[in-house]
Amino acid sequence: MNNDKLQRVVCQVGAAILLSFVFIALPTEHDTGISPLCFVKPTQAAEESWQQEFNAVCSQTNDSMSLSREELQLLIERCEKLKPVIEGQEETTRKVYGKRLEMCKNLLVFVLETKK
């Protein structure tokens, strides 16, 4: 390897290290601790996804009496899948949505029991 080539490699590595320092040093968002370089905020995306699922399942409580046993069973299973996701959220979210999910699931179980 000649000197020119070696110098070029050293420069490239140096530039890469410098660039990585710049990225690390960029201020993060206070609320989430996520770098603004992230194109999509992963926690927000995940939150939206479980909240959408929660809304989709629990929006059907008003229709629960007209749902079939299979449909009710499926909704209950979706509630059960949501439970650990909600339990993994921060304290207040866990408390609020945990209770809301419990009320929603209990009603679905209750309606299913009456149909048996």
């Binding site: 929660f54 809304n55 629990c58 929006s59 059907q60 409580t61 008003n62 229709d63 629960s64 009496m65 007209s66 207040t92 979210t93 408390k95 609020v96 949505y97 209770k99 809301r100 009320m103 929603c104 209990n106 009603l107 179980v109 209750f110 309606v111 009456t114």
Partner: protein, 263 residues
């Protein structure tokens, strides 16, 4: 020795009376006090007065479902264990009391922000508050009257369009289909000569939805599946969950016992 015996006997009488106090009838709340809930899970420990939550004020603006299903407030006083931090994050009271939400084009004050200590006293207000009392009577003066509770016939007030409780909070409530109207049904009274009860599902679901009552308060869906008596209700169970503290009280017999008299 005789005086000592008399003193001991007197002491027993006073102690006995003090214990018996618990069995005496409680003071009937005044119309503006009826439904008020004192919340003191953390307030006094934090050096603040307990919160006095006025049901009359909130129920005039929002349905029961908004707070007890969508926001997640428990049905028993103090059961939710609300922290100032929860409100600050936009949950519980902070769902509306966030300094951004509006009611009737007016911004609702922010709760527990820590920015304005004078605002703490709006909610942390145990003790008599003459301004609130005046506000209640001013609010109630044009509403249909009722003999008990708040002295307001809330149901009639809504039917006449005098109040329009909001049933959906944007960003918090879930969009649901309208409930199918359930049929009213009759429940026989257990006492001879007492008119039977006509239970209206539609009147109850319009403010509550399904999950507020089923299965936590009423386990049975079929008529007669849940057995209860007036004693249970006065203990705050079943109908007494709401009709002892917030909705028209159990002493207003004629509101429920409206059916034909059992012979």
């Amino acid at each position: 020795m005789r005086y000592v015996m008399i003193a001991v006997a007197a002491l027993f009488v006073f102690v006995g009376l003090a214990f018996a106090e618990g069995g005496l009838m409680k003071r009937k709340p005044l119309p503006f006090e009826f439904g008020s809930v004192v919340i003191d899970n953390f307030s006094e420990k934090a050096g603040l007065s307990p919160v006095v939550f006025e049901h009359w004020l909130h129920r005039s603006k929002y349905s029961c479902k908004v707070c007890h299903v969508d926001i997640g407030f428990g049905m028993a006083a103090g059961s939710t264990k609300i922290r100032a931090a929860d409100n600050g994050k936009g949950f519980y009271c902070g769902s509306c009391h966030n300094g951004k939400s509006k009611y009737n084009k007016k911004t609702i004050f922010e709760a527990c922000s820590g920015n304005d200590s004078q605002k703490c006293g709006i909610c942390h207000s145990t003790g008599r508050n003459p301004q609130r009392e005046q506000a209640f009577y001013k609010f109630a003066e044009n509403l249909p009257k009722e003999r008990f509770g708040n002295g307001i016939n809330w149901q009639l007030a809504e039917e006449k369009g005098l109040i329009s409780p909001i049933n959906h909070l944007e960003g918090i409530s879930i969009a649901r289909n309208a409930l199918a109207v359930q049929k009213d049904f009759s429940l026989d009274a257990k006492i001879e000569g007492m008119p039977s009860i006509i239970f209206s599902h539609s009147k109850h679901t319009v403010w509550n939805g399904c999950e507020l009552c089923h299965p936590d308060i009423f386990l049975g869906v079929k008529k007669g599946a849940t057995k209860y008596s007036m004693i249970d209700l006065f203990q705050g169970k079943y109908c007494g969950f709401c009709h002892k503290k917030v909705a028209f009280p159990l002493s207003d017999c004629q509101r429920c016992h409206v059916g034909p008299i059992e012979q």
